[in-house]
Symmetry: C2
Subunit: 140 residues, 2 copies
């Protein structure tokens, strides 16, 4: 699939903000629920299961998961990283990388299916984008 063919799923588009493009061209989203810092990587693929991705795309994705996890861990209040690909509702392959805090409203439960309790401030979003660009995780 080429960049030109890439179509973000309507539900992901509705639930998330786009932070930018990872160096691979994969899309990086931020979930609108600001109670947790919830990143989502959307690879450029028609496959719906992680194991179906070609090996080279898996390697790129693993590297992106590693770099984004390390970034989240450096931010304040990150007690645990949750990494998951579920896709029961949205079939377009996407990987959640979520910074969890023992005081967040869902802890120790998972975040999926929970109501959003807080909105992102635009200043904070711009700060995240600048930090990810400075680390050369997203292009910009």
């Amino acid at each position: 699939m080429t960049e030109r063919d890439f179509q973000l799923d309507a539900r992901l588009n509705n639930d998330c903000l786009t932070l930018g493009e990872l160096l691979s061209g994969n899309r990086l989203l931020l979930h609108k629920n600001a109670s947790v810092t919830w990143l989502i990587v959307v690879p450029q693929t028609d496959k719906t299961e992680l194991y179906e991705l070609p090996k080279d795309q898996q390697q790129i994705l693993l590297d992106e998961i590693n770099r984004l996890s390390a970034y989240l861990k450096e931010r304040p209040d990150c007690d645990k990283i949750n990494v998951a690909t579920i896709g029961n509702v949205v079939s377009q392959l996407h990987i959640h990388i979520i910074s969890r805090n023992i005081s967040d409203p869902y802890w120790p439960g998972v975040v999926w299916g929970e109501q959003a309790t807080k909105k992102w401030d635009q200043i904070e979003i711009q700060k995240i984008i600048r930090e990810l660009q400075a680390k050369q995780i997203i292009s910009g």
Copy 2:
């Protein structure tokens, strides 16, 4: 960490059955909740985050996730694979690989935090073990 030092977390030990050892020495568990086929890989490590694992261990784990996902997809009634590492309750690093069906009792929600609704039959467990051994995914 050597095999000798490996200690399975008490909660994982209580919630799961051990299917065997993957070829890497990582432990393969089956969650006792038989409403879904729920595999759990427990790597031999003291790290608690996926991104902290050395690259070679990550590669082994990725290969195990691929092979176990393909195995689950071949079994009856698998509509989607859920792959996740969460660790909010049990800090010992473990990776969930779960076969989901659109008629399972939790669909399209996630399985974590839900009550078990069905127990495994011993005959069925032995069948899974034999299949995983035949595919050389677990030793034995």
